[in-house]
Symmetry: C2
Subunit: 140 residues, 2 copies
């Protein structure tokens, strides 16, 4: 792993205005995306998101857990994407650790069984810097 | 087809600051996205993009032509996505019709064999309006 290249990846993630999670969505095999807020990341290539157990994306992940998380810095034209597998995490202590009170409009507290976390374990990431017109690829 | 719902889809496309084309990208089956400029659309669900015959996306499409085109209006939080199949179009008259002189930095004119068009034939589209918190689904 090239440390400078890895640091740049997380800089793009930190600077991104917008993140998307893409699943293999439709019955025909078309990808499906939705905006999602990144809660946290680990520089070993792990991303955390919050979602509902009853959501369509969780149903899609039970069919195919391969996902892509995208980070877009629109002004700069820079973008990064991380390829990985999503796991639905419902253990009480992790749910409590990530819980934010502002989510009370969506879920009835961290013990709500519909509140779950998505842990995306990245296998590879790539990003594109406009200045360099070059694609960087990192393996985790 | 609900005409008002269809009009709203194309309004989102017109207003979007940003469009992405998602292929089924990696060997592991992870989707891969890239920003792309929409050249034109037909309200029967057809989208047109320009690309290089030698590009990675064209290679990916030869493996799996199912794609998703995404349109993001970031300020409003509205987004739309169209699910379809991409065809690589290389016939000389269509290439000439779409050619823009500003692309001379990428291709050696409309006769350059590396300049091709992507025609995405949509089967379904969906969009999400933040105000309504509702998902609209349209079939083509």
């Amino acid at each position: 792993m090239d440390n400078a290249a890895e640091e740049r990846l997380w800089e793009i993630v930190d600077a991104s205005e917008f993140s998307l999670l893409i699943t293999r969505g439709t019955k025909n095999g078309n990808p499906r995306m939705r905006p999602m807020t990144l809660l946290a990341y680990e520089d070993t290539g792990i991303l955390w998101f919050a979602t509902s157990a009853s959501s369509r994306k969780v149903e899609e992940l039970s069919e195919d857990p391969q996902v892509t998380a995208c980070f877009l810095d629109l002004d700069g034209g820079t973008y990064a994407q991380l390829f990985g597998r999503a796991e639905v995490i419902a253990d009480p202590s992790t749910k409590e650790e990530f819980w934010e009170d502002e989510w009370s409009c969506f879920w009835d507290g961290h013990e709500d069984p519909d509140f779950v976390l998505l842990k995306v374990v990245g296998s590879q990431a790539e990003y594109h810097l406009v200045d360099e017109d070059e694609l960087w690829v990192l393996d985790f």
